[in-house]
Each structure stands twice: as C-alpha cells, then as structure tokens.
C-alpha cells in the first residue's frame, strides 16, 4: 500500500460510499451542535418528516449567546432566549444530549469536546462552527459546516465531501520564552495568507509543534480556518494520550491501552506526499500582534504598522488602506505605542487552563492600567473556571482589576452583552479581527494570553519577552 498521510488514513476509514465523478460519502463520528446555527437545521428536518439518525453521536451545548454574568437571572434578549428554548426543545424531541447553560460541564463547544474526551484521535468531527478545526489537535479530522450540512448530518450521519488537498506545515526550531502557540499560528497566517490554506487540510508537524502542550496544539489548529483551511491536524503522540487519559468519555484500563495502540497507527507514514509543504523556523520568532482587519495583517511586537504603499499588489494595498482607516492607525506607528481601551482573555482559541495560568503569571502582583476601561477573563468552560478557582487564579485576576466571568464565547463574537463599543480598541486573545467582529466599530488586535495580560497592565502592547514568563511546559 502506498504511503498515506494522516488525513488520507482517516478519510479512508470513514468512506461509506464512492462513485466516480461524485463527492464521497463520509461517515461522521461526532456531531457537535450549538444554539446559533442549529435551529433551522432541526426545522428543516421536521418539515421533511425526517428523524435524527444517531442522537447517541450528537452533543449540543449553549455557548454563543450565553451570559457570562449571573445565569440565574432571566435571559432578557428575546432572540437569544428563543434560540436557547429551541435547542432545549429540539434536544428533548430527538434525544440529542445537551449541556445547557446551567450544566457544570457547560462551555465553548470546542473547549468541552476535548475536555470531556468526546474528541478522540482518528474520529471525524463536525460542528456548525468554523473553529471546529480545533479538535484536529488530537489527530481527528474536524471541520466546520453550514446549517444545511448540519441538517444533512442529523438526517444521515454522513456528509458528501470532496477530498481536500494536503498541506504540511513544518515548524522548526525551539520556541523562545514569551512566544506562544498563538504567536506561531499568527506567524503562519502572516506567512501563507488568509487564503493560503484554501482547499487544503493542514497538518502541523516539526519540533516547534510536537513540543507544544495539548492546549497549545488546540490554539494552533483552532486558527487553521483563519488561513483558509477547513481543517488542521496534529499527529497524536504521548502528550495527546497522557492529556486524554481519565476524561469522562475516554476508554479506561485495558480498553485505553487498546485505543492507544490503534491511535498510534494514525500519524502520516514517513515519506507520505503532500500537495504543499511550508516551513517556518520559530527560533527567532517575536510575539505577534495584528494591526489590521484580517488575521494575516500581523507584525512583530517590536515592529511598526506597515505603510500600505509598501504592498506591491494594488488590491492588497487598498485592503491595507481600508484596514488602517478602520483601525485608526497611522503607518509607521510602533506596535508598542498603540494605546488600548479594553482587554479580552477568552474564546475557543485561548481560554484553557494553560492560557489562564500563563496570563495570571503576568498579572500576579500587578494592577490593570487606569486607562483600561475593562479587562475581562472568560474561562472557556465551567470546568476550566472551577479548576482555575481551585488554583486561586481568579483571585489573582480580580486583585489586579480584571473581571472574572462565567464560560462562553463572550466578546470574541459579541452575541451576548459582552460587546466592544464603537471606536474602542481591544487586545483580544480571540481569533478574528474582522471589522465589527467584537462589536460594530470596535477595533480588535489579536494577541496571545500573556501579551493581552501584559497589555492590560501597561495600557498598551509591550514586548513581554523581558517579563520572564511564557514558557509553561
């Protein structure tokens, strides 16, 4: 048999049916659902008189619009409440398991899947959310889908899929202190562009990736979609297996050993061919900060806001001009002199325990700058929140002047009342700096959790490499 990539192995193991000239029918092992994109899919199913084929493989959670304040209070947003009620009703009618907003295991869908052990190597995982790529960190094939596809999976537990091209991104070199997984993925997007991965499934490899914790790997895979790739994956290894063991849905005892043996067959065969290969050396990488309105508009913290005139392509130049106008930034402005109004530490990109531990390390014994109007910490899940509180991280954040909130998507997308006001500038650990993403007219700079924490203290971006933090192993 020819040498196969991990993507090809998982693809072949899930091939239900294939005819020439048609997309293949691929089996879906885990279907994750949230309140925002699923109601129309259930309605379509009902209208066609179809049933949910495999409720046992389907898990729902409330995350996008949930309040991060007091959830015992009534939901005042009528539209959000209607979506919560629809999800509750749809799950009860079809037998789909649900983590509602009061569950102690509630959290952002891409945080709780791995945390509970629903995410496992070799599985196919879909969700009506583009950041489903996160789960690829475990060596799963995971990608975001639209609402029509949600309906398709509910009805058939399969998806017609065209095979993607494969891209290997080899990250070499040792990660310098103060440089995190977030900086690596921002640098990758800066290098290949926001459409660089279109049509591809990315596999991240090399010592710069294998040295990362599972949390770091999830951050990297999470933002694959920001490079245009529907899925990103990392080969499972001992770091993966150790992280998974003992989680509620992970096999135990002898079954675990059997599972590990089968997971060990997943990594790409040596010499397997990829359609595209990219290399990035991170040994000299600086912390990254986005200056524009796509995640690819990114610079070293030691750099300056670029001059649009420096872009050779006229279309890119106009995009840069528009971005600087929206961001109210002048070319040549040092990144470290950009003043901030708010700080958001959260989202499916960076709200796991390691992220909060790193940020707390920066914050401990310091105070949020008086110019910062709000500094938010939103744990990715209630389990993360509980563990962080057990470690006293909440007290460190609160003592420094941060708000400590309940779990959800929060200000990454601003579907609840955590919204970035127009004209204000935010250092955010989230994944999208699109115009209006965090709130209409809001200006987002994407950064790592330690950069966000340091920016909250300083009131502007700073080169945190001098602060002696950021290498949590």
């Amino acid at each position: 048999m020819s040498k196969q990539t991990m993507y090809e192995k998982i693809w072949n193991a899930h091939l239900v049916h294939q005819e020439d000239g048609k997309p293949a029918l691929i089996y879906i092992d885990r279907h994750l659902i949230h309140e925002g994109t699923s109601p129309q899919a259930f309605a379509g199913l009902r209208a066609a008189g179809r049933r949910v084929r495999r409720p046992d493989l389907t898990f729902a959670v409330m995350d996008h619009s949930v309040s991060t304040k007091d959830r015992t209070l009534p939901v005042l947003d009528d539209n959000a409440r209607a979506q919560f009620e629809a999800l509750w009703r749809n799950c009860r009618e079809t037998g789909v398991r649900l983590f509602d907003m009061h569950s102690r295991h509630q959290g952002i869908v891409h945080i709780i899947g791995p945390e509970l052990g629903l995410t496992q190597p070799g599985l196919t995982i879909v969700c009506g959310d583009s950041h489903t790529s996160t789960h690829g960190a475990f060596g799963a094939l995971a990608f975001g889908i639209g609402t029509s596809e949600i309906e398709h999976v509910l009805a058939t537990q399969t998806l017609p899929q065209f095979k993607s091209k494969t891209m290997l991104i080899r990250v070499t070199g040792r990660r310098p202190p103060g440089v995190t997984a977030k900086d690596i993925i921002l640098a990758i997007i800066g290098k290949i562009g926001v459409a660089g991965g279109t049509g591809h499934v990315i596999e991240y490899a090399g010592e710069g990736v294998t040295a990362l914790s599972m949390e770091g790997r999830m951050t990297v895979c999470n933002m694959s979609i920001e490079a245009g790739a529907r899925a990103g994956m990392i080969a499972p290894d001992d770091t993966t297996f150790a992280w998974m063991e003992g989680r509620p849905f992970v096999p135990r005892g002898k079954d675990f050993q059997v599972a590990v043996e089968s997971w060990k067959t997943l990594p790409s065969d040596p010499g397997a061919r990829y359609d595209t290969v990219v290399e990035l050396d991170i040994s000299q990488l600086a912390p990254q900060v986005t200056w524009g309105t796509t995640p690819g508009m990114v610079a070293d913290v030691t750099g300056v806001v670029p001059d649009p005139a420096s872009f050779a392509d006229p279309i890119e130049r106009r995009a840069a001009e528009r971005a600087l106008e929206y961001m109210a930034l002048a070319p040549g402005t040092p990144i470290t002199s950009i003043p901030l109004d708010r700080v958001f530490i959260g989202s499916c990109t960076n709200s796991r325990l390691e992220d909060l531990r790193m940020a707390a390390q920066v914050v401990e014994g310091r105070r949020v700058s008086p110019r910062i109007k709000q500094a938010l910490v939103v744990p990715g899940s209630r389990l993360v929140k509980a563990q962080a509180e057990k470690e006293g991280l909440d007290r460190i954040f609160k003592a420094a002047g941060f708000e400590w909130r309940d779990a959800g998507c929060s200000m990454c997308i601003g579907m609840n009342d955590d919204v970035l006001p127009a004209g204000e500038r935010c250092a955010s650990t989230s994944n999208r700096n699109f115009e209006g993403r965090q709130g209409k007219g809001g200006r987002t700079h994407l950064v790592s959790p330690i950069m966000a924490a340091a920016a909250a203290i300083a009131g502007h971006f700073v080169d945190i490499r001098g602060w002696g933090v950021g290498l949590v192993e």
Binding site: Y27, G146, H152
Partner: protein, 214 residues
Amino acid sequence: MQPFRRHTGLVAPLDRVNVDTDQMIPKQFCKLLTREGYGKFLFYDWRYLPGERPNPAFELNQPRYQGASILLTRANFGCGSSREHAPWGVADYGFRVLIAPSFADIFYNNCFKNGLLPITLPDEQVDELFRRTYAHPGYQLTVDLEAQTLSDDFDLTLTFPIDPFRKYCLLNGLDDIGLTLQHEDKIRAFEEKHQVTPVQYDDVDMWSPERAAD
C-alpha cells in the same frame, strides 16, 4: 431547492478582498430561528448609517446597481465564520450569481445548498468584468450553467469551471439529503462494522434520554 439553469441580470461590483461572513450578516442577526428574510441585513454595517439610512458611500447602494442579481467581487469572498446566514442573506437580497477569483471553502459549499452559483474566474478576467461594469451603466451578464459560459452584450464570452456533480445538482435543484438517503443500506452496513458510540465512564452533567427516563 430552486434549480439554476440560465440567468441574465444586472452586475453590481464590490471591489474588496477577503469579504468575511461576519460582514455579510453581523452577529446580532444570527440569533433568529428562520432561514428567510436575511436580505435586509446583508452587509449591514457597510450598507446603513445610524437609523438604517442607506449609506451613499457603499457601492451597492448606488442607484445604478439597484436590482442587481450578479455580484462581482474579489478574492477569498466569504472567509471566516461558517454561518449559512451569509448565503441566505446574499440569496434573499436577490443575488443568484457570485463572481470572484476565489471563494472560502465553507461559504462556497453553502452557496450550492441555496441555489446560488459561485463562479471562479482568473484575476485578469475579473479585472476586465470590473472595467466593463464601471464603463457601461446597466451592465448585464448572461450566465448559462449548462454551457458553463458568461456573456455580455459587448461580444465577451467567458467559460468557467465547475465540478460536474455540483453542476448537475444545481441544474436540477436536487436535495442533497434525499440523494444520500438513496444509499441508506450502505450507511447501515458501514455502521455495523464502525462502532463509535462514546462510552461514558464518569458522571457528566448533561441532559440525556437516559437521565430523563430515571
């Protein structure tokens, strides 16, 4: 789904790269329960000034582009969020055809589920279409999906690529789920040898049919 065979319509230009789906339908409109009625929210933050007054600076608000059904735009259209509200808005606004040098994967897929035809053309051809759209008020294109051609009234004819199966489904307005369920025997056979129901070892705080039965 509405079949797509042949369409003639007014072309509207949106000369921006990397137009993301957050921009097409902002978050506050993703809290609805229906698939209909998103056209009035399309490009909301660009299109309206406070009080939902049309923003005269936004291309699509120009009188000459009212009633447009073909959107001409730049690379990586539809990047970002997987929200199908974006193609729902595009279709409900009245567009049936999108032309760009490239589209983001999830958005591209979503278009076909909603009777929208996304056409990919090389940069030079897209540039030429922008020139013609600006030069000729009322500029129209005729799209023939069967023949895979685009033509105007000024002797331009371009061919465009499309996957044969996607073309077949669009031409016939086929329902994906119905097609897949023709293979239900194969799905059942696959499921028999592919056991992936997760086994729960610890108490998990979720609603489930088993818990409801207790």
